[in-house]
């Protein structure tokens, strides 16, 4: 019985309920927008996901900065967890944005400043994760990765400024049926957007937490192996398990 209650009040269940409600709001409750039609409903997914990607970047750079400052592994774990989740959210933000742009702007992609900035940041954080994968393990890897994350964060305003200036010089050829039309939705848009943002924020936090926990266990195993020289037979078993599973 307590198990059931725990499940009901757990953040996971809360997130599921919220996400369900959000879906209902997006798909059923909110009226269809006149100018864009049903595709406008993509907005309610796209904006919160893009927000999640942005949160990812903020958390990565804050975690990296704190790691360089305090040298505590907690911050490194937080940074790598939110970088991974942030890359997932960022990729999704790009994809949903493109799918939305096609019917509305008639093109998959334009040189618009926010799009360009998101794409470049996505690449920087993919490079961050690849760097972590390729670099030999140790504290130097964590330190260098933190530096990359911070460089990415510092680069962000510069990229946005450049992309903005660039898109002014090359006005995007936005030609879709609803490119500049005003929305027919009033407050209901805000309500759904808010609900959706809350549920995706919670989802983001949950995913980061899961990734963080896994990372923590991996670190604990590493520390354990370091401190107790394990029987080579056990180590062999483990490496075999890694290879097969």
């Amino acid at each position: 019985m307590t198990k059931v209650i725990n499940l009901i009040v757990s953040p996971i269940a809360l997130s599921a309920v919220l996400m369900g409600t959000t879906l209902w709001l997006i798909l059923v409750w909110v009226p269809t927008e006149t100018n864009q039609g049903a595709v406008q409903r993509i907005l309610y997914l796209h904006v919160p996901i893009a927000w999640g990607a942005m949160m990812g970047i903020i958390v990565v750079s804050a975690g990296s900065f704190l790691y360089l400052w305090k040298k505590n592994e907690i911050w490194d774990r937080l940074a790598v967890a939110s970088a991974e989740v942030g890359v997932v959210f960022g990729g999704l933000a790009l994809l949903t944005g493109m799918i939305w742009a096609k019917p509305v702007w008639a093109v998959w992609w334009t040189g618009e400043a926010k799009l360009t900035t998101t794409l470049i940041l996505f690449f920087i954080y993919v490079a961050y994760l690849m760097f972590r994968a390729y670099f030999p393990p140790g504290t130097q890897r964590q330190r260098l990765a933190a530096i990359i994350a911070i460089i990415g964060a510092i680069d962000t305003p510069i990229i946005y400024f450049a992309a903005n200036l660039w898109s002014q010089a090359h006005p995007p050829l936005i030609t879709g049926p609803a490119a500049d039309s005003e929305s027919s939705l009033g407050t209901s848009l805000g309500v759904v957007l808010l609900a959706s943002t809350i549920s995706f924020t919670l989802l983001f936090i949950l995913l980061v937490k899961m990734r963080y926990e896994i990372r923590k266990s991996e670190d604990e195993i590493k520390h354990f192996k370091r401190n107790h020289q394990l029987d080579s037979a056990v180590l062999n078993n483990i490496s075999q398990a890694r290879g097969t599973s």
Partner: protein, 245 residues
């Protein structure tokens, strides 16, 4: 500048260094007095080179403190570097430049005066006067090592760190090395070197430090040591995972 204990040339306390899943140095603790010539002994992979790299400030220890001539290396890096000369595994010379060009470059980096006479003097010490204008690439291994030694001696360091200096050297080169060691001993400066030739170590050094399993297992003057003493220090602490020894 924190002048702590000028009685010691090197004072190493509780130095720990680990790479990923391996803890190379668990708790290293030893000290050397000025004028001592010491050897670090240990099986392959015991962490001799890692320890030397930490003392040369190329690698950061995870924890622990190191004093060199009263300077904490974590705080007074440049001072310690000016006091230290190192010849590590590779000669660390630009192979497409001549010996003279290499020595000039490093003399400039150490901000030395009268560079030309200094080069001639140190070249004599290690017997490479005839090869000064040869490119490093064209020199034999022995001459490359001698040139590296000349580079380390240029700024008259108080402490000389040598990583397996006699490996692969012909007898002439070894005799130049022995001259340098003798000069250091007589002028009250300090040498710390690693080797795995125990006989040679006992001949040349005043003090032996045996590292096994990440700990210092023997720290003693060489007068009361013989080969079997040292070998037993190697073996009675063999780690459980004895496979690779």
């Amino acid at each position: 500048m924190t002048k702590r204990d000028p009685l010691f040339a090197i004072k190493v306390e509780d130095v720990v260094k680990s790479y990923a899943e391996v803890m190379v140095l668990r708790r290293i603790k030893f000290s050397l007095q000025p004028g001592e010539v010491a050897v670090i002994l240990g099986a392959n992979g015991a962490g001799k080179s890692t320890l030397l790299r930490i003392l040369a400030m190329l690698t950061q220890p995870d924890s622990g403190s190191i004093d060199i001539y009263g300077n904490d290396i974590a705080k007074n890096g440049p001072q310690v570097r000016a006091l230290t000369g190192s010849v590590l595994h590779s000669p660390m010379l630009y192979t497409d430049m001549s010996v003279r060009e290499n020595l000039t470059l490093f003399a400039e980096l150490y901000r030395l005066k009268n560079i030309d006479t200094l080069i001639e003097k140190n070249a004599c010490k290690v017997g490479i006067q005839s090869r000064l204008d040869h490119r490093v690439r064209t020199l034999s291994h022995g001459f490359q090592k001698r040139a590296a030694l000349a580079r380390a001696l240029m700024h008259k360091p108080q402490l000389l760190l040598l990583d397996e200096p006699e490996s692969g050297l012909d007898s002439r080169s070894v005799s130049y090395l022995e001259n340098v060691v003798e000069e250091y001993r007589s002028s009250g400066r300090t040498i710390l070197m690693t080797t795995h030739i125990i006989e040679h170590a006992l001949e040349i050094a005043d003090k032996a430090i045996v590292i096994t399993d990440g700990y210092v297992h023997l720290e003693s003057t060489t007068t009361c040591l013989n080969k079997s003493n040292i070998l037993s220090a190697y073996s009675h602490t063999l780690p459980k995972t004895s496979g690779d020894l």
